[in-house]
Amino acid sequence: MPSPTRRSFMLGTAGALAATLAARLSERAARADEPGARPAAPAPAATSCILLWLNGGPSHIDTFDPKPGAKSGGPFKAIASRATGVRLCEHLPRLAEQAQHLAFVRGLSTKEGSHPRAQLLVHTGHVPNPTVVAPSLGSWIARELGKTDAALPPFVSLGGPGGGPGFLGQSFGPLVVQSPGAMPQDLAPALPIGPARDDRRRGLLDEMERGFAARTGDGAVGERRAVYARATRLAHAPERRVFEIDDEPEAVRAAYGDTDFGRGCLVARRLVETGVPFVEVTLDGWDTHKDNFGRTKKLMGALDPAFATLVRELVERDLYRRTVVLCIGEFGRTPSIGGDDGRDHHPAAFSAVVGGGGLRGGLALGQTDAEGARVVADGTSLPDLFATIVARLGLDPGATRTSPLGRPIAITDGGTPIARLSA
């Protein structure tokens, strides 16, 4: 268990000198972002992104942006973390231990307070528009970084439907795994048949397909056969074992936590290890109009070990530089507490956590007021957050594709990478 007093102990002794030195170094690092400073050598691009999707709109005040003294700050205390000056809710102790690897973005603000619209906005980075459905970040990345010869799909969603492909088309939507830790649906036959039967009937199918393709002369048959072949390949690929966690040591599985979300995070680590470009893991239940504190505490009980262990393992396995991690929900929750002991939707100010991929960690970016109601300093726009992430993946935030109605849509809605997060 982390001991926040260790740092104060350090500061009180010879560590004081070290601390001053550290402060000077980080000052200099901050200045390096200013124009005219000597530019750092470009880091190699990240190759994967993990999105931890907190569905329902997590209360920022009760998680990443605590306001313990405030009138409506709630019963939870704030604890120090390994990020200097950054305090987190007391129910995220393990995450606090990993905070030096993470940036706590506290100045997010949107105008979308309805779940469907906000979910779409935060998944795609574009304000929902009836004429064009922008692809989710996952689908963009699947399109740009996915390899056609890979056995595993480029976009996997665990525990939830995940972001959709929009106008990029269904083939860039996620492979959805409803029960993380187990094989995805339909990867194995509902009634098992032996390999001999499997081979024989596929041979028969192949002949029928060739005949039909020849008779119709329509390219769609060939395209379907290609997709079907990918599905067959996935169903037989040894790589599909990545979805099952039985071979992980008990200690590892315990560290992530015995929850679907915990298992999902473990599978996400395994997937990026094999090179899958985008993985989304969903933790649902944050829409706490009732019993906000009880339910949010319980959710943090699942979030804390899973998120912290994921970061720790990525760091330990030397995967963190090539994996961007984003933890976010569709909005925050109101400072004011309603009759059912709940907090309601609050898009005007909310938080996200981002790290990895060579991004700077150990800091908070942006500030809300004393209640947590408004962003008062260093606000972050969603497009800029997306641009920061995609730039780390070696993609151009302004690159566009054309929608069916002829509109060019960019990966980010006019975003530019945030200098203070880019190392």
Binding site: T131, V132, V133, V176, S179, L205, D218, E223, R230, L405
Partner: protein, 595 residues
């Protein structure tokens, strides 16, 4: 328009909703009256063909030949009834020697309940959008209402007027979840007006209501003008607000809200906008705007703006109403609209097809917006009957010289698997009183996997790995191809004794045609090879297939495991070979495409 995947929370109801007595069937048509009603269809069909033939000649495009009977029956049954033909229907049609068998078969389909249900699903899809759990909407009631109207042959202008001006109670307050999202038949009590659910769906955002009205019924994409003056067309933000103002007096009042049940609300028009509108700057602007139609016609009409709107929409002077509907139906039946995208009828997007759209739209108006007459006429054309083969000249857009392959919709796929595999009696038997819920959930699951983004470029096949896996290994497809008591496979093996007869029956059931000689030989060898293997190995195969739980370690929701009561009755390798035959047929592109 589909949006990205949004979370579906499926609340599982404890019991299925009871289906009450089925509504009155469509009026039957006597032979002479039928022949008489076909005459104008034939005339219009001939004019359509003439115009398109001229177009093809001018472009030097050679049209594909007409399809054979088996292909025709499958195509038209999918297009009109949303499923493949049954074995009985296929055999009867192929044996029919009458000269007018195609028009007669089309007529029978038009009069069927399946046709009404199919149109209801299409229009529910179009008007309601993605199957997201909208809190106050009873989507199943909306489908039932649509089905009843289509079955009663309500003219299209009447039907749209009823939707746009709908008032009253939205729902009987049944269980929330799949049964509120998917209709499994039956009827609602008389005091429920299912049509109300469409206005309720969009009612919180009148801007969305305006956009949906224009797009769904008029083929006009006015919603761009919601946020800025339309970039390419002449709509301004002011125009948009005036149009949205037609819905400004709608009030939705809650009647009941019980946990786990669909909220019951009442929809009516008030004298003025609801007070909360004035708290929102955008809504306030709409509230203050004078209601005007897209061409500036004033819709103030005292108390009833929506009635004025409906009258304007359905009037013969309205340039969009009939053309939008005709364009959709034409695109549905031929694979290609005169205007593409099919709901984007703007001046700068001129229709192709040499005036045929106007010709058919005028006929549609003249018929009194008779939906049957429109379908009848298009189905009667030679254009409709063109084969998929590319022929000598290759593919040409906007020439309708051939039918393009198109994936079956999720509903068509679901209903076709159920038909081919004879799953209905099995669902009844296994699920008992939860049969409706099982049907609704299975249909939704199929839709979830097979739903294609309508925004995606329709020119190329965009299937997914998950779709392929669902047919390869999924629950519905596996249940359909397993030898279960009372299944299609079971019937075929009982009724026929020889390999060729059994194979012919399976081909007719799955593909609507008999096997070719070489297919008979190949499949015969497949089956008989298995029988020989069986005879050679002295070991008797186990009586039933291994436990269904062997499919995966976690056999709960998410794993594709058959419910324990479903076990294969295949006892021999030969019987298992027949399971493989049916599996093969259902996994072919020939099965999963409309052609």
């Amino acid at each position: 328009m589909r949006s990205a995947h949004l979370l579906l929370t499926l609340a599982v109801a404890a019991t299925a909703a009871c289906a009450s007595t089925s509504p009155t069937p469509a009026p039957a048509r006597a032979g002479v009256a039928a022949a008489a009603s076909r005459a104008p269809a034939a005339t219009l069909a001939a004019r359509i063909d003439e115009a398109l033939a001229a177009l093809q000649r001018a472009r030097g495009v050679q049209p594909a030949p007409l399809v054979d009977d088996a292909t025709w029956l499958r195509r038209v049954t999918l297009d009109l009834a949303g499923r493949i033909p049954t074995e009985t229907e296929a055999r009867a049609f192929l044996a029919d020697a009458g000269a007018d068998k195609r028009p007669r078969a089309a007529e029978a389909l038009l009069g069927s309940r399946d046709h009404a249900a199919h149109l209801a699903r299409i229009w529910d899809d179009t008007l309601m959008g993605p199957r997201v759990k909208e809190r106050q909407v009873d989507r199943a009631a909306f489908q039932r209402w649509l089905e009843a109207r289509f079955a009663a042959k309500t003219p299209w202008d009447r039907l749209v007027t009823e939707i746009v001006t709908a008032s009253g109670k939205n729902s009987a307050g049944g269980p929330a979840g799949p049964l509120a999202l998917v209709s499994t038949g039956g009827a609602d009590p008389d005091d429920v007006n299912g049509a109300v659910n469409w206005v309720v769906r969009y009612g919180r955002q009148p801007a969305d209501l305006a956009g949906a009205t224009a797009k769904g019924f008029l083929g006009v994409q006015i919603q761009c003008a919601q946020c800025h003056d339309h970039k390419t067309e002449k709509w301004t933000q002011g125009d948009f607000r005036s149009f949205a103002a037609a819905f400004a007096h709608v009030r939705v009042d809650r009647i009941e809200r019980d946990k786990g049940r669909v909220p019951v609300v009442s929809l009516a028009d008030g004298q003025r906008p609801m007070r909360r509108w004035y708290g929102d700057p955008e809504l306030a602007k709409i509230a203050d705007a004078t209601p005007k139609a897209l061409d500036g016609t004033d819709l103030s009409n005292g108390d009833n703006r929506r009635a004025a709107l409906a009258a304007w929409m359905t009037s013969r002077d309205n340039p969009w109403f009939s053309r939008a509907f005709v364009n959709r139906v034409w695109a549905q039946l031929t694979g290609e609209g005169f205007v593409e995208p099919i709901d984007d009828l703007r001046p700068s997007n001129a229709p192709r097809g040499g005036g045929v759209l106007d010709l058919v739209a005028e006929a549609f108006e003249a018929s009194g917006f008779d939906v049957d007459a429109l379908y009848r006429a298009i189905v009667a054309t030679q254009t409709y009957q063109r084969a998929v083969t590319t022929g000598a000249a290759g593919v040409a857009e906007g020439a309708w010289s051939r039918r393009a392959l198109a994936p079956l919709s999720p509903d068509q796929l679901f209903d076709s698997i159920v038909t081919a595999a004879g799953l209905e009696p099995i669902v009844e038997r296994v699920a008992g009183e939860r049969a409706d819920l099982v049907r609704a959930r299975a249909r939704m699951q199929m839709e979830f996997v097979f739903d294609d983004d309508s925004e995606a470029n329709a020119e190329s096949y965009r299937g997914t790995v998950q779709q392929a896996l669902a047919l390869m290994n999924g629950l519905v497809a596996t249940a359909g191809t397993t030898l279960l008591e009372g299944s299609a496979l079971d019937e075929v093996l009982r009724e026929h004794a020889t390999t060729p007869d059994r194979l012919t029956a399976l081909f007719l059931r799955a593909l609507g045609r008999p096997p070719t000689a070489s297919e008979l030989a190949r499949f015969g060898a497949f089956v008989e090879g298995a029988r020989d293997d069986d005879a050679k190995s002295a070991v008797t195969a186990p009586r039933a297939a291994p436990s269904p739980r062997g499919a995966g370690r976690r056999g709960r929701a998410g794993g594709a495991v058959l419910p324990g009561r479903i076990r294969s009755r295949a006892r021999t390798a030969e019987e298992r070979a027949y399971e493989d035959v049916l599996w093969t047929l259902l996994n072919t592109s020939e099965f999963t495409f409309q052609h």
